[in-house]
């Protein structure tokens, strides 16, 4: 869908990435890492300084007209709906612009307005809406013409928890039908929930690109297991544990999940004693990213 070949532009430095069809790719990284630049390069709003960008197999800068019905770009802070219009007027204008047939459009509108819940203020003008309300309507506007490629720049800004999970549902559903999404976000739990792949930018370089599990096993393989034991404290001498400590009847173990699975540890414990409660904590995407930023997890490798 999108192909970057050794692209440099602003902060971005020699980035190559391929975004396959039907995938939701989350672009993460600190502010100024080049996330928005990547979005703008993908839709042809920016031209690369060096290297090449292909979107739908074409140079997006030169073929912008061709894309207009295939790509939907949503950049937070850049309005899709006119300020003076009411929400439904804004949508009617979009229908007109994209030449979508009326009954079909109505069907899509009904569905989106129910999902994103902007139907109840459709007769209010956009400028009177709260940030979250406006974001819901604008996301609807970005989705309604059913683009093949959706580029989202921080779509979660201003959305409440319900809005975030609805967006996640819609995108997941759309991607099953072949839509591709490239999105930037600072909402790690959202990214973790919906993105099949994560692209991590740091200082203009693509430091990681792959699934979340992949990221975890590479940069944050340390899992923490808490076991409530009834009986003797088991002996772990042979196991490659990072560390363990005992507090009353609670045993806390941390270990590298690349070297040993939790099942193996548990099996060993159960052989020696009995257990009443087990919980395993893997590091959240958020903590991995913040640790990565500090350079904490790098030392493992």
């Amino acid at each position: 869908m999108i192909n970057f070949e050794n692209v440099s532009k602003y902060a971005l430095n020699n980035v190559s990435i391929h975004i396959p069809k039907g995938e939701i790719v989350g672009l993460i990284g600190a502010s100024g890492a080049g996330k928005t630049t990547m979005i703008k390069l993908s839709c042809g709003l920016l031209a690369p300084e060096s290297g090449r960008v292909y979107t739908l197999d074409k140079n997006p800068v030169l073929n912008r007209k061709l894309y207009k019905n295939n790509i939907s770009t949503f950049i937070a802070g850049v309005p899709l709906l006119c300020h003076d219009d009411t929400v439904s007027q804004g949508f009617e204008l979009i229908r007109n612009m994209y030449g979508i047939e009326k009954t079909e459009f109505h069907k899509r509108y009904e569905k989106l307005s129910e999902q994103l819940d902007f139907g109840k203020y459709e007769s209010q003008s956009v400028k009177n809406l709260s940030l979250g309300q406006r974001m819901r309507a604008e996301l609807g506007a970005a989705l309604i013409y059913e683009p093949k490629l959706l580029l989202l720049d921080e779509p979660n800004v201003g959305l409440d928890e319900n809005g975030k999970s609805v967006l996640c549902e819609i995108l997941t559903e759309r991607c099953k039908n072949g839509m591709t999404v490239l999105m930037t976000s600072h909402d790690m739990s959202g990214v973790s929930k919906m993105c099949g792949r994560i692209a991590l930018l740091d200082g203009g370089k693509l430091v990681f690109y792959g699934s979340e599990d992949n990221l975890r096993s590479r940069y944050a393989p340390i899992d923490v297991m808490r076991v409530k034991i009834c009986g003797n404290i088991p002996d772990f001498e042979d196991l490659p544990l990072k560390k363990y400590f005992v507090q009353g009847d609670i045993l806390t173990l941390s270990y590298n999940s690349n070297h040993i699975t939790s099942a193996e540890i548990l099996k060993l414990i159960l052989r020696q004693t009995s257990v009443s409660e087990v919980s395993i904590r893997k590091p959240s995407l958020e903590s991995i990213i913040s640790q990565l930023k500090k350079g904490g997890y790098y030392e493992l490798y």
Binding site: G44, L45, A47, V61, I75, V78, N96, M97, G99
Partner: protein
């Protein structure tokens, strides 16, 4: 190219204008006041004489009501592009499946139509009832006046278009727009009828696009031009539209390139 989105934009603009009624009524009053003040000044200047240099008082008032009326109608939104560059929404505009220039024209036409009906006509009626306005020289001349006025709008639009395109580089072009408007107002005859300009000045003005905005239609309306002269003047208008539009279009293309290379 489908026309319906452009019509939708024109309609939106037309209806949008009707939302601010108070502002609109004030606009009409301001045009009328300007008109009366100018008429009184010229009445005083004439000091009772029926004509000066072959220009009669009714010609003056007719010039003012037509030029000011057209001035009210010909009001392209000079900040259409600058505003969009300023707030960054130019980005989404460029990714829309319709022509940006087409949309700009559509919105300006929607505006102009509204002003024609609700600004020009009321002012015209008030002027006819109070000061009196000459009838057009003939029905044919009136039709030619309409044609030439439309072309005048084209010239003014092209100037505004070209000036706006500099916003890609200058970002804030308030001063440039103000200068443009001063030129348009003074040199096109909507403040001082061009008859009273010195001969050399009129010679110079004939080589600028300004005199073809309001003054050409007014002259046609008053029957001061022969058919040959009308054809020539309209051709001049067409040439100005083409030349200025082309300059604007080059800037437009360069501007987009600049946007893509340097970012908005």
């Amino acid at each position: 190219m489908r026309l319906s989105p452009y019509i939708a934009y024109a309609k939106k603009c037309f209806l949008g204008r009707s939302a601010y009624r108070f502002d609109h009524i004030m606009d009409i009053i301001s045009t009328c006041m300007q008109f009366f003040i100018f008429c009184e000044i010229y009445k005083a200047l004439y000091g009772g004489s029926s004509e000066i240099d072959g220009i009669t008082m009714p010609m003056i008032t007719t010039n003012f009501v037509l030029a000011m009326g057209l001035n009210a109608v010909f009001y392209p939104d000079d900040y259409f592009l600058p505003n969009k560059i300023w707030d960054g929404s130019i980005a989404t505009e460029l990714l829309r499946p319709i022509s940006f220039k087409g949309r700009m024209i559509a919105e300006n036409l929607g505006n102009a139509l509204f002003s024609l009906i609700f600004h020009f006509l009321p002012v015209l009626i008030i002027a006819v009832l109070t000061v009196g306005v000459s009838a057009p020289a003939s029905a044919v001349m009136f039709l030619l006046f309409l044609l030439s006025a439309a072309l005048g709008f084209g010239v003014l639009w092209a100037i505004s278009f070209a000036v706006q395109m500099t916003a890609f580089w200058l970002i804030n072009i308030w001063s440039l727009i103000t200068i443009k408007n001063v030129f348009v107002n003074v040199l096109s005859g909507s403040m001082i009828p061009l008859w009273f300009m010195p001969e050399w000045m009129r010679g110079v003005l004939d080589f600028t696009p300004f005199s073809s905005i309001y003054f050409t239609p007014v002259q046609i309306y008053l029957g001061q031009l022969s058919y040959g002269e009308i054809a020539l003047k309209c051709a001049v208008q067409l040439v100005w539209i083409a030349v200025i539009y082309l300059v604007g279009d080059i800037l437009w293309k360069k501007g987009q390139q600049k946007l893509v290379v340097q970012g908005g």
